[in-house]
């Protein structure tokens, strides 16, 4: 069957089948991923995958987790972005303090870019950091929709400084940092999302990532990682939609035949099965280019994210359709997949932002147009 696991994820597949899928609807209902699960992910070493393995394997893992629970996969996404930023742009003191705990998952990271007035156009951030008397920085700002914000130990924060937008790693426990959980979201309801406020939060000099004013470049770099993860997680949603649909269609009779014997249902299943292969192939392509350090990975990742997220929405819609009323009911996996899939079309650069980036790339490559400066959208 075409839902066969991507290579290298045998351990993850068993984990997802036994530890994740049976509980995912309860996590969704309770609006929280429990601590025991965060701990199991740490025991498997999966929090650190963005720096401990290849990016092809990273995507395969995030696909598997996404097949089970998009909320957990979202936590892995933003954590991976924060870890990647520390690894790539952190000063020695910051790396020494955070690289190991973040890799092991004994500390979790989250990503704070979006604000009320800064969504798809993240260059509009109003959070600001000014040099503190005696060294370091004082940070003020209000970040919204921070996945994992309720739970994370560190935040990757983007704020305006004298030289443009800069990136900082901020400890959640620092004075002047507070968070408010966000409840009742449409999808990824268990992802511990919060609003995070910084009110004169004092940061050490080493909290600055990269050079001052490098924030846009860092955001672009981490969003590329986030998109890769969301593309893979969306592929997992397609796999879950297909698995559930096939099971249901093979068991329920209507009109004198199994649902799966009706050609109109077969068409829906066909689309899911083909989209799964295509999305997986695009993720693998983007991952292989990343592993080779090839700049073409940036556009390949946009394409993978765009295709996989829109295909996940299609697949989840069709999964609800195939299940009929049952799929609409509270606590049914198809219901959850449908709500989670919609989020994938909005985060890490919405579908419209991907369309702008991909089309501009195609136009300029043909010598036919010049991009303006759309930004990538946050997580």
């Amino acid at each position: 069957m075409s839902t066969a696991a991507p290579p290298g994820t045998a351990g993850a597949r068993a984990f997802v089948d036994t530890e994740l899928i049976p509980h995912a609807d309860a996590f969704d209902r309770d609006e929280a991923i429990p601590e025991w699960l965060l701990g199991s992910v740490a025991e498997h070493g999966w929090w650190g995958a963005v720096r401990t393995g290849s990016m092809v394997e990273f995507a395969a893992l995030h696909e598997e987790i996404g097949r089970g629970c998009s909320s957990l996969r979202s936590l892995l996404t933003v954590h991976s972005m924060a870890l990647y930023a520390v690894d790539r742009w952190g000063a020695d003191a910051l790396r020494e303090r955070w690289l190991e705990p973040l890799t092991a998952g004994t500390a979790l990271g989250a990503f704070c870019l979006t604000e009320s007035a800064a969504g798809s156009d993240f260059t509009a951030v109003e959070a600001s950091a000014r040099p503190a008397p005696g060294g370091g920085w004082l940070l003020d700002g209000h970040k919204k929709w921070v996945t994992g914000g309720e739970r994370a130990e560190v935040f990757l924060v983007f704020a305006r400084t004298g030289r443009g937008v800069s990136a900082f790693l901020v400890e959640a426990g620092a004075p002047g940092v507070s968070r408010t959980p966000v409840r009742g979201l449409l999808g990824t309801r268990a992802a511990l999302t919060a609003e995070v406020r910084f009110e004169g939060a004092r940061l050490p000099a080493a909290a600055l990532l990269g050079a001052e004013g490098m924030g846009t470049a860092i955001a672009t770099g981490v969003l590329d990682i986030g998109r890769h993860s969301v593309a893979a997680g969306s592929t997992g949603i397609i796999a879950a939609a297909l698995e559930g649909s096939v099971r249901h269609a093979a068991g329920r009779r209507q009109g004198g035949a199994l649902l799966g014997e009706h050609q109109l249902i077969q068409r829906l299943i066909t689309r899911m099965a083909v989209d799964l292969r295509a999305a997986r192939a695009l993720c693998r392509d983007a991952g292989a280019l990343k592993d080779a350090g090839d700049p073409a990975t940036l556009m390949a990742t946009c394409a993978a994210k765009y295709f996989a997220s829109t295909a996940a929405m299609r697949a989840a819609t069709d999964a609800v359709q195939i299940h009929g009323a049952v799929g609409c009911s509270d606590g049914h996996p198809a219901n959850r997949l449908f709500r989670d899939a919609k989020i994938m079309e909005i985060i890490e650069g919405s579908s419209q932002i991907q369309e702008i980036l991909i089309a501009q790339h195609a136009l300029t490559a043909a010598g036919a147009g010049r991009p303006r400066t759309p930004e990538g959208g946050a997580s």
Binding site: W89, A91, G210, A211, G213, M214, T216, A217, A219, T220, G221, D224, A292, G293, D294, P295, T297, L298, M299, C302, L357, Q360, H361, T364, A365, A366, G367, R370, P371, R372, T373, P374, E375, G376
Partner: protein
Amino acid sequence: MSDQTGRTIRDFVLSRFPGVELDDDVDIFTLGFVNSLFAMELVMFLEKEFGLRIPNEEMSLDNFRTVSAMSALVGRLRTPDAASVGEA
């Protein structure tokens, strides 16, 4: 040697933006065709093509503004001292 570096960089920019007139001292960022994805592509291209790691202190926009500036950056990072900083 540095001529060759400049040519390689120019070819990459032109492969992405065919038909643009690009002399080595033209400020790419004022031509209006650079978005942040392209800036990141430039970084990745230089790192892969010339086998370097661009350290934080060299990540200033000015180092990527012109073909000449990028050639100079590559030259600096290729000297043994700077290269070891880059790989730290």
